[in-house]
Amino acid sequence: MSLSAPPRVVTVALLGNPNTGKSTLFSALCGVRQRVANYPGVTVEKKVGRTEIAGRTLDIIDLPGTYSLAPKSPDEMVAVDVLLGRRSDVAKPDVVLVIVDASNLERNFYLLSQVLELGLPTVVALNMTDVAAAKGQKLDIAALRKRLHIPLVEVQANRKLGIKELKAALADAVGGKSTAIESPFPEKFQNEVTLLEELARKNEDEPLPRYLVERLLLDTSGYLAEASISGITPELLKEVATARERLKIAGIPIPAVEAMARYQWAAKVLKDVVTRSKQRPTTLSDRLDKLLTHRVFGSLFFLVVMLVMFQAVFWINDALRIGDGIDYAAGWLQSLVSSILSEGALRSLINDGVIAGVGGVVVFLPQILTLFCFIAILEDCGYMARAAYLMDKLMSKIGLSGKSFIPLLSSFACAVPGIMATRVIENRRDRLVTILVAPLMSCSARLPVYTLFIGAFIPNRTLDLTLAGWGIHVPWLRGLVMFSMYMIGIVTGILVAWILKKTLLRGATPPFVMELPSYKVPGLRIVWQRMTEQGWAFLQRAGTLILAISILVWGLGYFPHNSAKIEPALIEQQGRLESQLERFSPTELEENNDALKLKSELAAVENQIAGEYLSDSYLGRMGHFIEPAVRPLGWDWKIGCAAIASFPAREVVNATLGVIYNLGEGAEEQQLEETIQAEKNLNIPVALSIMVFFALCAQCVSTLVIIRRETGTWLWPLFTFVYMTALAYVGAFATYQIGMLFV
């Protein structure tokens, strides 16, 4: 390495095993100064933070937590490419910072030995020495420093101890000498790598780095060979195969040699550095683990935790939306706008497009924050891995792993945070399957649709019980219908997951080999940061798009707004009523019986006019246009129109129905129920068909946008929309046709 002037901005790559406190260290180093983006083409998040020390600026790239730098998927390839300077969107790191868990050095040193082979200046942050002490381990840090020949800084990331020293060590390490260690591999193996490296150099202008040549030789999973990496040629692969043969004969088994060599190296470095007490003390964490993975108590505890989490997400939505929160604020803003602007396109745009659209985005925030509060606590205290451990057997029956359980459970409250929670699933195929079936779980936004149609059409058969003098009326039929709606989603979800795993996302079962970390008290700062991070990410990267689509659908429902198409008698009546009302004083308008009567007549007329405008709007025309297609579902154009209008969010269907049936969009549920009951086109099979459609359809722009964000491509949201709409159509069709046989 040259000793020329050090760069002004130092790029540091932060790497470490999962559960070593890496995110905590990252935020201790950079605070809130971090940017989050996605690496194109993969689902890995690109997190970069910035900090200063002694006039130097450090850009810290937080690489995904990993046990090994042996890529077996494009997502895992990102870290290797960043470290080797092979990504055009990230500067080649000047320094690598490896965080290690002091209570678990052997396994953590496996990754370290891989990093050291890259030859980049490397600094080790030794975290969690307190946990090591609790486990009865003694660490000779001075001896360890001597053996490693690289800077090693003791930190306690959660208490922000040693951070300054760590920054100084990072700045000092820049431009320092290469830290390549002697390779831990046997000489014969190294010679084979050298031969292959020479061959790779001959073939390409851009020669494959030695580390990747070594990986290619070791990767028996076949990922690298098929990953179409420039520099991996058929000749090279042929040579790799013969090299493996030669090594096998020489008694060097591929791939086992890597783990053996690296763990041998770790054992050599750690000999006499770590001394374990003969009788390992039973820690509080051990006792907790015994209890929390206990057959009976552990299962019960898990159920309670899940129930509380689910109820909280469900409740926060109810409390903030229907109560005095978001709806109230939106209503207040809308009446403010109405008092300033006269009736017209602009007022409608602001009230029904922008404010309603922003409300539709903001409404997800409390749910996202609540769910991630729970997830961050569960993750940080170490229970998340146990939850996956407890549920794995059940989830493996549909080809998924225990890690899919919490995202799917959360989706019953709302698919948006549920899909965001799939980040815990490292395997790309498992994660995609979970994302694609999550929207089938009946979320809280479907409830208003279910309650409206159940209330209007399903007879209230009750089971009357008398218990200790208390009369209990169980509305069993309505309950049964509601339960069926949830079951339709679950059963379809299981089938779709199973089919996807057999067809489109087929592949070898991913390993479930994972660490069960020690329990600890969750850090409030980390929990808070995780919540706000997710909230912001949603607002910034999904919010604008959701808003745009909401406004688009508003436009479809508003324009062309041609008054010539409205029955002249209605407009005349409206004018007459308005002028009659002008004669009353403001107090009379509130109290006088005649005025009140006129006002309600006016409202009815206005609602009728709104209904006619909607019927003539582009949306209404689309409703008429698709009527032949929805006829077999038992729907008329009004329902078709409401279904299209509900594309931004399912619950919008109630408001649209309100307008279509001339009740105004703020129609009371009672009133709406009575109106649709009286509608001659509607009966029980039609109501069931509508409910089944909404149980299965993807009418939720936020879900589709978040799928785009999480998968990095429009392909998957499109796929979700198409398959769910097709299922919804078929389901509604079958429901109506079968239902009509009984009417």
């Binding site: 046990y67 090994s68 042996a70 077996k72 209570s103 678990n104 052997e106 396994r107 496996y110 486990k135 381990q137 028996t220 999973s221 990922y223 591929i254 791939p255 086992a256 890597e258 783990a259 053996m260 763990y263 374990r276 683990d289 015994k290 993975t293 206990h294 057959r295 009976v296 552990g298 299962s299 891995a385 451990y389 407890l390 794995d392 057997k393 059940l394 493996s396 070898a508 079962t509 991913p510 390993p511 479930f512 080999v513 994972m514 660490e515 069960l516 970390p517 020690s518």
Partner: protein, 75 residues
């Protein structure tokens, strides 16, 4: 004898890990290499996966994965 056949509480030593695919690679990366000592701590309430103590930490793995690990008992 393989790891999936052991009863809870057994202590043993890894002899060999079968296979060269992603799962076997991961088992070795996590420290299950020949000569490594372990204790089988327990199983999840539904009987699978298993929980091991190895190299001073807790590892969970499915029975189907554990069946790839040949072991001998040490006590």
């Amino acid at each position: 004898m393989n790891l999936a056949q052991l009863s809870i509480g057994s202590r043993g030593e890894v002899v060999h890990v079968e296979g060269v695919d992603e799962i076997s690679l991961r088992l070795m990366e996590m420290g299950l290499v020949p000569g490594t000592e372990f204790t089988l701590l327990g199983a999840a309430p539904l009987g699978d996966p298993l929980e091991l103590e190895v190299r001073g930490y807790r590892l969970s793995l499915r029975k189907s994965e554990a069946a790839r690990v040949d072991v001998i008992l040490t006590s």
